[in-house]
């Protein structure tokens, strides 16, 4: 086969359907809007045309029931799901702060290399293995029922909310410590060498050089775990604590309508979506700041 000088003009032009569909930016927007409408329409059709559509609509999406369960009515024997979500938020915030601290401690212990810390390192590894392996709901039961049964002073007389938060902290710290560890490992050893070579002691090298870079790298997985934690505060309801999911559960048992769960689901969505967008903004801001090269 002879080698010719150059391919003939027009050899690289797109031909056929792709040429029309993937043309300019404006038609791209039109296409994405149209495809979104088609997909949403198809989903709505499946839902609305199903044989049991009316029954499901009444059981899960009844506006009067949704409103009743949202505002609650103690005289009728059910609580406000809207008020109960506050407890989820409070549990989440307290647990998150404690998790961030405890998980960092565990990660640093597991990353330490000093021979004298060997027994603590083993304990840290055992801790992570145990709490990552045991289902959260079992941890909540074990703490919420087991600690009071021990009849210890102070420890055994706490509220179910406290036991629930303790269980969340113990379980999630195991996961989050692994996220921290991945972050610490993502910072190259040469950064440690550079910091130490300037005379910074280990602790300061960690604080000013390693941790800031590690945290930047793990913000997305960290926030992902926290979105998960927000939802899992609902599990504390198994101890009888009136959080949003438990309140919805009580409503459905009293009134025989599941719309209260829909309310709880919407409230959880309202909580988690802003966190997700906040994560996106943090990442974008960091990226732009570094590209712009401006002073922070």
């Amino acid at each position: 086969m002879a080698l010719t000088g150059s391919p003939p003009p027009g050899s690289f032009a797109r031909t056929g359907r792709g040429a029309r569909l993937l043309g300019g930016g404006r038609s791209g927007t039109v296409i994405s809007t149209a495809s979104t409408l088609v997909v949403l329409g198809a989903l709505a059709a499946i839902f609305l045309l199903a044989p049991g559509a009316r029954a499901v609509e009444h059981a899960f999406f009844s506006p009067p029931h949704m409103w009743q369960s949202f505002i609650g009515n103690p005289r009728q024997g059910y609580y406000s799901v809207g008020a109960a979500i506050w407890l989820n938020i409070r549990m989440f915030v307290v647990a998150e702060i404690l998790i961030l601290a405890l998980a960092l401690l565990i990660a640093l212990i597991r990353q330490s290399t000093h021979p004298a810390l060997f027994p603590i390192r083993i304990l840290g590894t055992g801790y992570v293995d145990f709490f990552r392996g045991v289902p959260l709901i079992l941890v909540i039961f074990a703490i919420g029922l087991g600690i009071p049964a021990l009849s210890l002073p102070v420890l055994s007389t706490q509220s179910n909310v406290m036991y629930g938060v303790a269980a969340l902290v113990l379980s999630y710290s195991a996961y989050v410590s692994e996220v921290y560890r991945a972050g610490l490992n993502s910072v190259h050893q040469s950064q440690v060498a550079a910091a130490r070579s300037l005379g910074l002691p280990h602790r300061q090298a960690l604080r000013y050089v390693i941790l800031p870079q590690a945290l930047r790298n793990i913000i997305p997985p960290l926030l992902n775990d926290f979105i998960s934690l927000q939802k899992d505060t609902a599990l504390v309801g198994v101890l009888g604590t009136i959080e949003a999911n438990k309140a919805a559960d009580i409503y459905s048992e009293q009134v025989f309508n599941f719309s209260s769960f829909t309310v709880a689901a919407i409230l959880f969505l309202i909580l988690t979506i802003p966190l997700a967008r906040f994560t996106d903004r943090l990442i974008e801001r960091d990226r732009r700041r570094r590209l712009a090269g401006a002073t922070p």
Partner: protein, 260 residues
């Protein structure tokens, strides 16, 4: 091994670095197999040799970044590889610059330079910044202080790395192939900075592949091969009439590659 060096050893008190019988292994791999080297105050010594000959490891040992297996390193007559030594105190006097710059990517140029003075030397932030600005200006980086490292060229990054080390006011500078990661047209600006440092009388040990530069700047050149100093001589002697066959073979390869 150090026969060439011993005759010209400076008198005690003027000796900045003394390395004796230094052995260093990474696992089963012995990288330094008995290094003896003395460097006088204000002296510039270049280490040459193929990759893997132990140049970088030797420099990292002097900065105490690598624990040694045996032998000893003394600075100004005080042993620093023995027990009871605080490596952080030693490192305040010994700056090191790495091949890959190793700047802190999450900090501006100014913060990169002021971090160690502020936290280790504990000078005030204002004073640290004033010193840093003076150093940055001296090396042509005055307008870069607010930039993050990834906005700079390789040559600029390496000059910032040199400034960062100098901000600790070290008496010894160790330079580990500081131009090896640079595009050829950026090498000169970094070498100029090192020449200026040498002119101020800075004691330096420089691992380098730039033979022309080594010939210009070094008072002594050491050729390393497989963890040993094969030859230690003034550059005029080592580059023109090397005594050891292994040095000759190495230099011939460099000449063939068009780098001398």
């Amino acid at each position: 091994m150090s026969a060439g060096g011993e005759a010209s050893l400076p008198v005690a008190g003027h000796e900045a670095i003394r390395i004796e019988g230094l052995h260093k292994s990474f696992g089963a791999n012995e990288v330094l197999k008995g290094i003896d080297l003395a460097v006088a105050t204000h002296e510039v010594v270049c280490l040459i040799g193929a990759s893997g000959s132990g140049k970088s490891t030797l420099l990292r040992c002097v900065n105490l970044l690598e624990p040694i297996n045996s032998g000893r390193i003394s600075l100004w007559g005080q042993e620093v590889t023995g027990p009871g030594i605080d490596p952080n105190l030693v490192r305040r006097h010994v700056g090191i610059v790495f091949q890959a710059f190793n700047l802190f990517p999450h900090m501006t140029v100014l913060r990169n330079v002021t971090l160690a003075p502020a936290k280790v030397r504990r000078v005030s932030r204002a004073e640290a910044e004033a010193e840093a600005r003076a150093l940055l200006a001296r090396f042509g980086l005055a307008d870069k202080e607010a930039d993050f490292p990834d906005r700079l060229s390789g040559g600029q990054q390496q000059r910032v790395a040199i400034v960062r080390a100098l901000a600790m006011k070290p008496q010894i500078m160790l330079l580990d192939e500081v131009t090896s990661a640079l595009d050829p047209e950026l090498v000169a600006e970094v070498l100029d900075v090192i020449r200026e440092l040498a002119a101020t009388g800075m004691t330096m040990v420089i691992a380098t592949h730039e033979m022309g530069f080594a010939r210009d700047i070094a008072r002594r050149v050491c050729f390393l091969e497989e963890g040993r100093i094969i030859e230690d001589a003034p550059p005029a002697e080592l580059f023109t009439s090397p005594r050891d066959e292994r040095t000759r073979r190495f230099l011939r390869r460099i000449v063939d590659a068009g780098r001398l």
